[in-house]
């Protein structure tokens, strides 16, 4: 019989975030596939106990909470102490959590403390005939593996966006308080918004707009038009509410002292050394190159591209539609039509 602990940290407003509810959905799926297994909810945070009733109908047998203001701060020492205490109190064989920045920072270390193992960036879980398997990608989203583990506890961090979030009625629950060390040499100072002041990364956006290095190259008149490119892109982002991605080469140009789009940072970078965001649609402009882009676009469903090379290795066979046209002209018209 397997005990499945679903770990979640409570948000500052006392709620459980969407990633936490996705983790609950994953944990429920595992429990349903493992006869005789039980589900335990473990919450950490300033108001962890008060948040527990939100999960009343998720099918858990127990509710555990590590709470106190010191556990509201996102930092390794206290998050690890809370997760360790919850896993030990639950005697968990499987620990499932969302791959938030807090748990991604922490749970591998907790697995080490408890003599267990960890798998991160999990995109699927399956349980049948007493066995659990998870799917995850290797080599920067180039190949997908399905794996099982013999060791316990097995920490499984599920990537946000891979499971339909669990939703259920709140109700009264009996919360067991668990003690954990709240000491740390680190203190949380603040969150910082992008330096550009322009919100260009929107993880929940329908559309990912990727700007390639072509935007900063010489145009038919023999000159670069970086300012115009920046204005067109920002106008498009404001009107479409798209999230902005960038190729590595375009971001690198800035650190090498070339004229670049001032609102782009490494945070916008998708691909081999950037992120692999999940969006229903993606529009690439002025992008070239092949494998690194495939990595960045792995989880973008519908893909279109605008560039001047009909044989572009990135677009051919990777995009659904390739528009062979000047992106400056096309995007100016698009901005106009979006009003």
């Amino acid at each position: 019989m397997e005990t499945i602990l679903v770990l979640a940290h409570v948000e500052a407003d006392g709620t459980l975030g969407r990633p936490a509810r996705e983790a609950i959905a994953a944990a429920r799926a595992v429990r349903e596939g493992l006869a005789g297994s039980s589900l335990v909810v473990g919450l950490a945070g300033a108001g962890a106990g008060a948040a527990a009733p939100q999960t009343a109908s998720c099918g858990a047998a127990r509710w555990l909470a590590v709470e106190g203001p010191e556990f509201g701060e996102p930092r390794y020492a206290t998050d690890a102490a809370a997760a360790q205490a919850l896993a030990e109190a639950a005697s968990a064989g499987l620990v499932i959590a969302a791959s938030t920045s807090r748990w991604a920072r922490t749970l591998a270390g907790v697995a080490q403390r408890l003599g267990g193992r960890v798998d991160t960036h999990v995109t699927g879980v399956a349980a049948a005939q007493g066995k659990v398997a998870v799917s995850r990608w290797f080599y920067r989203q180039r190949m997908e593996a399905e794996i099982e583990r013999a060791q316990r506890p097995w920490f499984i961090l599920v990537d946000p966006g891979c499971f339909q979030p669990w939703a259920g009625e709140p109700g009264p629950v009996a919360v067991e308080r668990v003690a954990a060390s709240g000491s740390s040499r680190t203190r949380f100072v603040e969150y910082r918004e992008p330096v550009s002041g322009e919100q260009t990364i929107r993880p929940d956006a329908e559309l990912l707009f990727v700007a390639g290095a072509g935007w900063t190259k010489k145009q038919p008149d023999g000159k670069t038009h970086t300012e115009q490119a920046g204005a067109l892109i920002l106008d498009f982002l404001r009107k479409s509410r798209a999230s902005l991605g960038s190729s590595k080469s375009l971001v690198d140009l800035g650190s090498e002292g070339h004229a670049v789009l001032p609102f782009l940072t490494h945070m916008n970078q998708v691909g081999q050394t950037g992120s692999t965001p999940r969006h229903p649609k993606g529009l690439a402009t002025c992008c070239h190159g092949e494998e690194p882009h495939v990595v960045g676009w792995r989880f973008v469903n519908e893909r279109r591209a605008v560039n001047l090379d009909p044989n572009c290795g990135w677009a051919q066979g990777k995009a659904d539609v390739l528009y062979v046209a000047d992106a400056f002209t096309v995007m100016a018209k698009v901005d106009e039509l979006l009003g």
């Binding site: 390794y76 991604a104 270390g109 080599y139 794996i147 040499r185 659904d320 528009y323 000047d326």
Partner: protein, 269 residues
């Protein structure tokens, strides 16, 4: 001025431009022609190394070690380039560098190697690495290595490290929604899993390269065999997804028409 002992953990990965194909003919899968593939220092670990070298340059008395686990021959090939980028002392471990090995076993090998570094002052230790690798991509090895060394102040997705006048460390980590989290730690020892940071790749410096290579070759000769497998881990399948799409190429069409089609596509959910 406070000085640091900076240990950078960084392995080698296939050049990102290579096409990769898995081979599943043993308990731990591998890549087709893995030993033939050109390799590079793992990109995020490389950023960690550049940040380490930059910090050490600003802090006289600091020293940088690069602890690298990989097949000795491949390490030698990669070090020919990496050694020209920044001054460091190599601690080489001869073992597999593939992505299908388990993070906990890699961490065990790295921690043992770090514990064996002569003259390392753990009270001044900054343990650097990439926040994820371009192979396993788990973002787990650094935390586990840190835990094995008893370091419980850890940071991942780091883009900036500032040392204050009082010796505290102010660290900027990537978090959700394109934001950064700023934290302050009293001081070393800490684990920092670097994202891209803010520094460009340093140009090749032949003088640095020659100085490094005097230490690199003996380090490679001394490289201890390291076991890094995947005990208890079973790969049911490993496959490259079908990626070929039927691309509709639209050319010789006015920009207005393309724009209309794009806007309709964007607006239709």
């Amino acid at each position: 001025m406070q000085s640091f002992h900076i240990v950078v953990c960084g392995s080698i990965v296939p050049d990102p431009l290579q096409t990769l194909e898995p081979v599943v003919n043993s308990p731990v899968p591998s890549l087709k022609n893995e030993m033939m593939l050109p390799a590079v220092l793992d990109p995020w670990a490389a950023h960690a190394l550049y940040e380490a070298a930059n910090l050490a340059r600003q802090r006289p008395g600091s020293k940088v070690w690069l602890v690298s686990l990989g097949p000795k021959a491949k390490l030698q090939q990669v070090m020919m380039t990496v050694a020209q980028k920044a001054p460091f002392e190599l601690v080489a471990l001869d073992g597999p560098s593939g992505g299908f090995t388990d993070a906990s076993e890699t961490a065990a090998a790295l921690a043992e190697a770090i514990q064996g570094i002569a003259g390392l002052d753990r009270s001044r230790l900054l343990l650097f690495g990439g926040w994820e690798s371009a192979s396993r991509g788990a973002g787990a090895t650094m935390q586990m290595t840190g835990e094995r060394l008893g370091i419980t102040d850890q940071f991942q997705g780091v883009d900036e490290l500032e040392v204050t006048e009082s010796g505290a460390l102010r660290i900027l980590e990537r978090v959700e929604g394109g934001r950064h989290q700023l934290s302050e730690c009293e001081g070393p020892p800490v684990v920092l899993g670097w994202a891209t940071g803010n520094l460009p790749e340093p140009p090749n410096n032949p003088q640095v390269g020659m100085a490094n290579m005097r230490m690199v070759m003996p380090a490679l000769q001394r490289a201890k065999p390291a076991k890094a497998g995947a005990d208890g881990l079973t790969y049911r399948s490993v496959k490259v997804p079908s990626q070929r799409r039927e691309t509709r190429v639209v050319k010789d069409v006015p920009a207005e028409e393309i724009a209309r089609e794009l806007v309709a596509w964007i607006r239709n959910g």
